[in-house]
């Protein structure tokens, strides 16, 4: 790759040619809508990250230093709300999904382009309402457990409507994708010739359509409880606070697969290209996405083993939970097998993909500690849980997103980034991440509860280590974004297919023209036909 710098812009700006506010605000082009989502979600990733750094700063001290406990509680709530609802749920599906699905299946756009821009507007409206609610010091945590969330003075009601809107956008986007994948595939693109990213987005969309209405309803019930005093969740009025937790996790557990499945799809695209090998066990990876989506609906109770839910329910949920591990394991084993006898180039997208697998394995292997009843009782609501979900969500999803950003950046903007800077950023992120979050596993085993503003002094050394790690992580992330941002304007021109990929998005210009393809391609084989068959080699 040419490292730097060709200030003269690539000749054909494709879909990016048109300029001006309205050309973006009223666009029907799935690629532009994808970029709108990308910009919006990454902005909240950075804001949420600043809150994370503040939390880590405060946790260097065991007492009430730096800022008050109340402020700490508000900050961890904002960190959670922004990262979950405004970044990680929409980031890959709505941003990369929008940009890539039509291109990858050889379509000119999604099935319902107007619905698509409408989804973005609703998303934006939801964000505005959520930001308005943040004017009050929201301190419920992103889980909003009643009765605390029903009684606190913060603007939970306003926030409920914001999340309702964001959820609506998520449902419509999922619906759009399902129809697009069913109806708009290029001639010859059969289901088992689909890129695995499309399979993962298909599974993701099903979850979005089926699970998101439940969280919408849950927040409406919470609003009704706060405004009208209905008492769905208030024991004094015959309600049950556990009902809220069941509703909440019925959505919020499946939604972790909305977060991780698309990242798994990204990795499944990148590995074969950079190893020059066919993906190992295509059907296994495709079906395991569907299996995870399905089983993911049946395990929400593992968030509630010590909640006071019946022991029998806990035992059943624990049993079911373990079977999410099996399809997840299949993916990991298949990815590793793909590397066998490959010809592996460790460019930034590949490096991030391998990092995804490395960190996700740690996240995955610490899952059984929480799935098993006996150890869950000890580890529930401690830093072990915090470490576990940051390994899967940040080490998994976010690193997967970074891999995807580096892989598709030339396609999106028609420019290359500096590989050298990308590697430096990766190094900082990798070490920073592990120092930050591995310390938390140990803290959790030692009994440090999560969401604590103050803590006994014996936990301090590991907290200091974690905070120091967070600075490296932040530095690496800033460098990575700076590298990409700078390359928007100064990167050298990218070829239509800089990596030698075989999926359809690389069979058009970088950046692609507004209507994607001069002529809709006809597909004759699957997209992972790398390497030589035994017969050909003789």
């Amino acid at each position: 790759m040419p490292d730097d710098i060709a200030p003269s812009p690539p000749a054909d700006r494709g879909y990016l040619t048109e300029k001006g506010f309205l050309s973006w605000a009223c666009t029907l082009d799935h690629k532009r809508i994808g970029l709108l989502y990308l910009g919006t979600t990454l902005l909240f990733f950075l804001v949420g990250g600043v809150f994370a750094l503040l939390l880590r700063m405060k946790l260097m001290y065991p007492g009430e230093e730096l800022f008050s406990n109340k402020a700490y509680n508000v900050f961890f709530t904002l960190h959670g709300i922004m990262m979950i609802f405004l970044f990680i749920i929409p980031a890959i599906p709505s941003a990369l999904g929008n940009f890539l699905i039509p291109l990858m299946i050889g379509a000119r756009d999604v099935a319902f382009p107007r619905l698509n821009i409408f989804s973005y507007w609703i998303f934006l409206a939801g964000i505005i309402v959520i930001l308005a609610s943040l004017a009050s010091p929201l301190d419920t945590g992103w889980t909003f457990y009643t009765p605390y969330s029903a009684t606190t003075g913060a603007a939970v009601t306003v926030l409920s409507f914001g999340i309702f809107l964001v959820g609506m956008s998520s449902i419509l986007t999922g619906l759009n994708f399902i129809v697009t994948i069913h109806r708009l595939r290029a001639p010859g693109l059969t289901w088992f010739r689909l890129p695995l990213f499309i399979w993962s987005m298909y599974a993701t969309s099903i979850i979005q359509v089926l699970a998101t209405p439940v969280v919408g309803i849950t927040f409406l019930l919470l609003a009704a409880e706060r405004i009208f005093g209905v008492g769905f969740f208030d024991p004094a009025k015959g309600g049950d606070p556990l009902l809220f937790q069941h509703f909440f996790w019925f959505y919020s557990h499946p939604v972790v697969y909305v977060m991780i499945l698309p990242a798994m799809g990204i990795v499944s695209e990148i590995l074969p290209v950079f190893a020059r090998k066919p993906i190992f066990g295509y059907k296994g990876i495709a079906y395991s996405s569907l299996a995870i989506a399905f089983i993911g609906f049946l395990v929400w109770g593992h968030h509630m083993f010590v909640s006071g839910m019946s022991d029998v329910a806990g035992i059943i949920f624990s049993f079911l939970t373990f079977f999410v591990a099996v399809p997840t394991g299949v993916k990991v084993f298949n990815w590793i097998a793909t590397l066998y006898r490959g010809s592996i180039s460790l460019d930034a997208p590949m490096l991030y993909s391998l990092t995804f697998i490395f960190l996700f394995i740690i996240g995955g292997l610490t899952g059984p500690f929480l799935g098993a009843l006996a150890t869950n009782v000890h580890l529930h609501d401690t830093y072990f849980v915090v470490a576990h979900f940051h390994y899967t969500m940040m080490g998994g999803t976010v690193i997967g997103l970074f891999a995807g950003l580096h892989y598709w950046f030339p396609k999106m903007f028609g420019r290359m980034y500096s590989e050298r800077r990308a590697l430096t950023a990766w190094l900082l992120i990798f070490f920073g991440f592990n120092i930050t979050f591995f310390s938390m596993f140990i803290l959790g085993v030692q009994g440090m509860p999560r969401r604590w503003a103050e803590y006994p002094e014996r936990f301090q050394p590991l907290h200091i280590a974690s905070t120091a790690g967070s600075w490296f992580l932040a530095l690496g992330t800033v460098l990575m974004f700076w590298n990409l941002f700078r390359s928007l304007f100064r990167g050298g021109p990218a070829q239509p297919d800089p990596w030698g990929s075989k999926t359809l998005e690389w069979r058009t210009g970088s950046p692609p023209p507004t209507h994607n393809f001069a002529e809709i391609p006809t597909v004759t084989e699957w997209p992972y036909g790398f390497g030589k068959k035994e017969k050909e080699r003789e």
Binding site: R341, I344, L365, H380
Partner: protein, 312 residues
């Protein structure tokens, strides 16, 4: 967990059993960790190609039925084993012995009140006898709380409107921390208590003493109550403002209230603030203090006021 945790696991039989499950999952996890990361890193380095080098010829391998079957079947059996082991120990965790001493726990923002079978109560401190199983029967007076004994590897949420329970059989004399593990608002992280495990003789002596209260001076009694009732979690003695205003120099001071008025902190004001904290809210502090109505007796409040007078 020996080698992992700062605490040992001989404090109770259950803790040792939980650590057994932890060790088992750790060993299984380590095996798969070495296996997967080993191959991942080995392949990535072994088959690596230099920058700008033409790709070497690679074989067209698209899968292997027996390998894929293998890594569906073996992990399924392994997780089944983990589930069963976890379940068996969980059964012990959830089954208190029939002869367990029952202690009532009422959690509220942000303290625990313990009630012994003979009616005695204590705040944020519970004393038990070594070797005797104890069952905590718990309910919340406001929002959801948790009760976590990290040394004993047990925790349970505490709900308003229904009872939950937790049991321990401590085998070692000592002081053990109790943490709130369900987020419950501003004072969540300072909602801590202590379980004191005493040997038979000491416990007996303590029970007798409690029945025939030692003659403490009023201020000494107030000092003990202030410590044990959770006041210091929010109110400092050294002048720093925490969740609530400091107690230092409070008595006799003119206090600015949230509604713009002001009041002199006399006995009546302090008594009212303990029983009805939001009646006269101090300027700059959130209305978060719980009432101590029913928690502290009249003579307790008198003692606390006497103590506050001495904090200068």
């Amino acid at each position: 967990m020996p080698g992992f945790a700062a605490t040992n696991n001989t404090v109770s039989g259950v803790a040792a059993q939980v650590d057994g499950v932890f060790l088992f999952i750790t060993l299984v996890g380590l095996f798969f960790f070495v296996l997967t990361q080993g191959f991942l890193i080995y392949f990535a380095l072994r088959y690596r190609r230099k920058k700008r080098e033409e790709p070497a010829e690679t074989p067209y391998i698209t899968g292997s039925h027996w390998l894929e079957t293998l890594w569906v079947v073996i992990p399924s059996l392994v997780v089944l084993a983990i589930f069963i082991y976890g379940y068996l120990v969980y059964r012990t965790i959830r089954t208190p012995p029939a002869d367990a001493v029952e202690i009532q726990v009422t959690a509220r923002q942000w303290l625990y009140q313990f009630t012994y079978p003979d009616g005695r109560t204590a705040v944020n401190e519970v004393r038990v006898e070594v070797g005797r199983p104890v069952k905590f029967l718990m309910k919340s007076a406001d929002v959801i709380h948790g009760l976590y004994l990290p040394d004993f590897r047990v925790k349970m949420d505490i709900l308003p409107g229904s009872y939950t329970y937790l049991w321990v059989q401590p085998e070692q004399v000592g002081k053990y921390e109790i943490y709130c593990t369900e987020y419950c608002g501003t004072g969540h992280s300072v909602m801590r208590a202590v379980m004191i495990v005493m040997n038979h003789e000491d416990y007996g002596r303590w029970v007798k003493q409690e029945e025939k209260p030692e003659t403490l001076s009023l201020t000494k009694k107030g000092e003990k109550l202030t410590e044990n009732s959770g006041c210091l979690a929010c109110h400092s003695l050294d002048g720093t403002a925490r969740v609530g205003p400091t107690l230092k120099g409070l008595f006799g001071k003119k206090v600015a209230l949230a509604d713009g008025k002001s009041v002199v902190a006399d006995e009546t004001y302090i008594r009212e603030s303990i029983l009805e904290p939001n009646a006269k809210l101090v300027q700059g502090f959130p209305p978060v203090m719980p009432t101590f109505q029913g928690v502290l007796k009249d003579e307790d409040i008198t003692a606390i006021i006497a103590y506050i007078k001495t904090v200068k």
